[in-house]
C-alpha cells in the first residue's frame, strides 16, 4: 500500500543512500585533481610557443642544453649577418629552398600557436568540469543532509518562536521586525526584516524562511 503522502511531500530517502554517489564523485574529483599540480598542467601560458618565452623558460632551456642562448642571436651583429648571407648568386636552387623552408616554418609556428590556444580552451573545460564536480558534491551533501533532517513525520520544518518590532532605542533599525525561528535541528536563528517588508506583506514569511535557510546552510558548510 502506498503510505499517505504528506502534504509537503518529504524527501523520503535515507541520507546514507547517497554514500555510493559521494564515493563516485570523489573518484571523479581524484581523477581530475592530481593532474592540475603536474608541470604539464600548469596553465598553458601564451608563451608556450611564443617567439620570446618568459625568462623562466629561457633559463630552463639554457640549463638543459644551451639552446636558450640561440634566442639571443639578434643581439649580436655578426650572428644577424649569418642569417642574411645570400647564396643565390652561387646556387639559385639553395636560395629558393631556403625561402620555402622559411615559409613553411612560419606556417608551422602560426599553427602551433593556434593549437596552443585551443589547448588552453580545452584546459579551461577541465577547470569548469572540476568546479562542477565540487558543486555536485556540495549540493549532494546538502540534499543528503536534508534527507536526514526530513526522516521524521513532522513536516513543520520551521518554527517561529518570537516576533518583535523595534523602536528607536535598540541597535536594530527602528521599524524593523525581528523574527526568531528554529529550522530543522538548528539553534534559534534571528532574522531581521527591514521596515519596508511588513508582516502583512504576503512575501514576509518566504523572505524570513529564505534568510533562515541561507544562515542554516552557511553554518552547515562551516
Amino acid at each position: 500500500s502506498i503510505l499517505p503522502l504528506s502534504p509537503f511531500g518529504s524527501l523520503g530517502f535515507h541520507d546514507d543512500m547517497f554514500q555510493p554517489f559521494f564515493e563516485m564523485i570523489h573518484q571523479a574529483q581524484e581523477a581530475m585533481e592530481p593532474h592540475f599540480h603536474r608541470p604539464a598542467f600548469q596553465p598553458l601560458g601564451k608563451d608556450f610557443t611564443k617567439e620570446v618565452p618568459d625568462n623562466r623558460t629561457v633559463c630552463k632551456e639554457i640549463r638543459r642544453n644551451s639552446t636558450g642562448c640561440l634566442r639571443m642571436k639578434d643581439q649580436c651583429e655578426k650572428c644577424r649577418e649569418i642569417l642574411s648571407v645570400d647564396c643565390s648568386a652561387n646556387n639559385p636552387a639553395q636560395a629558393k629552398l631556403r625561402q620555402e623552408l622559411n615559409d613553411s616554418l612560419q606556417v608551422a609556428e602560426l599553427l602551433t600557436q593556434k593549437y596552443n590556444e585551443l589547448l588552453q580552451s580545452y584546459q579551461r573545460k577541465m577547470f569548469s568540469t572540476s568546479s562542477l564536480l565540487n558543486q555536485l558534491n556540495d549540493q549532494f551533501s546538502w540534499v543528503s543532509r536534508l534527507a536526514n533532517l526530513t526522516q521524521g513525520d513532522d513536516q513543520a520544518y520551521l518554527h517561529v518562536s518570537t516576533v518583535s518590532t523595534h523602536n528607536s532605542d535598540s541597535d536594530t533599525p527602528s521599524g524593523a521586525t525581528e523574527v526568531v525561528v528554529k529550522l530543522f535541528d538548528s539553534d534559534p536563528i534571528t532574522v531581521i526584516m527591514p521596515e519596508e517588508v511588513s508582516r502583512d506583506n504576503p512575501k514576509f514569511m518566504d523572505t524570513v524562511a529564505e534568510k533562515a535557510l541561507q544562515e542554516y546552510r552557511k553554518k552547515n558548510r562551516e
Binding site: 502506498i2 503510505l3 511531500g9 518529504s10 524527501l11 523520503g12 530517502f13 535515507h14 543512500m17 547517497f18 563516485m24 573518484q27 581523477a31 581530475m32 603536474r38 598542467f41 610557443t49 629561457v58 633559463c59 640549463r63 644551451s66 639552446t67 636558450g68 642562448c69 639571443m72 642571436k73 655578426k78 650572428c79 649569418i82 642569417l83 648571407v85 647564396c87 646556387n91 639553395q94 631556403r98 623552408l101 613553411s104 606556417v107 608551422a108 609556428e109 599553427l111 602551433t112 596552443n116 585551443l118 589547448l119 577541465m126 568540469t129 564536480l133 555536485l136 549540493q139 536534508l146 520544518y157 520551521l158 517561529v160 518570537t162 516576533v163 525561528v181 514569511m205 524562511a209 529564505e210
Partner: protein
Amino acid sequence: DPLVSDSELQEMSNQGSKYINKEIQNAVKGVKEIKNLIEKTNEERKTLLTTLEKAKKKKEDALEETKDSELKLKALPQVCNETMMALWEECKPCLKQTCMKFYARVCRSGSGLVGRQLEEFLNQSSPAYFWMNGDRIDSLLESDRQQTHVLDAMQDSFNRVSGIMDTLFQDRFFTQEPQDTHYFSRFGLLLRWPHFLYPKSRLVR
C-alpha cells in the same frame, strides 16, 4: 511582541515550512541541474577535442613540410661556407657573452657549468644550423612534444571522469523526471538507491 498570538505564530511557521519544503525540492532539482551542466560541458569538450585533433593534423603536416625543406637544403652543397664560417667565429663570443650575462643576471644560479656546456654546444654547432633557422625548428618540435604530453594527460583525466559520471548519472535518481513534486514515493525508504520520484502510473501499478 505580545501582539502576535500563538495561532498567528503557528500560521507563520506553516508558511515558512511550506517555503522550506519548496526549497528542499529545489535542492534536489539543483543536483539535476548540475548534472545537466556537467553533461553540457562534456559535449562542448568533445566538440573542442575534434577541433583540436584537426588542428593537430594541420600543425604536424606543416612541421613535416618544414623538416622536408630542411633536409633538402642540407643535402645541397654548401656554397657560402667561408663567408658563414668567418661570421660564425665572430658571432660565437658575442653570443656566449650575451647569454652568460643574461644567465647571471636573470637565472640566479651557478653559471660555471652552463658556460662550459655553452662553449661545447657552440663549437659543435655550425653556422648553417643558424642560417636554416635550426633553433626555431627545434623549438617547434619541443613545443609539439610538450603539447602532445599535455593533451594526453588531460585526455586521460577526462576519460576516467566521463566513465564515472556516466555510471553515476545512469542511476534512476537522475533519470526519473518528477511528475509532480508532491509525489515523492515513500518506497525510497526500502530501496537501496534513492529513486524517490516515480510517475503516478508506476505508483498505481
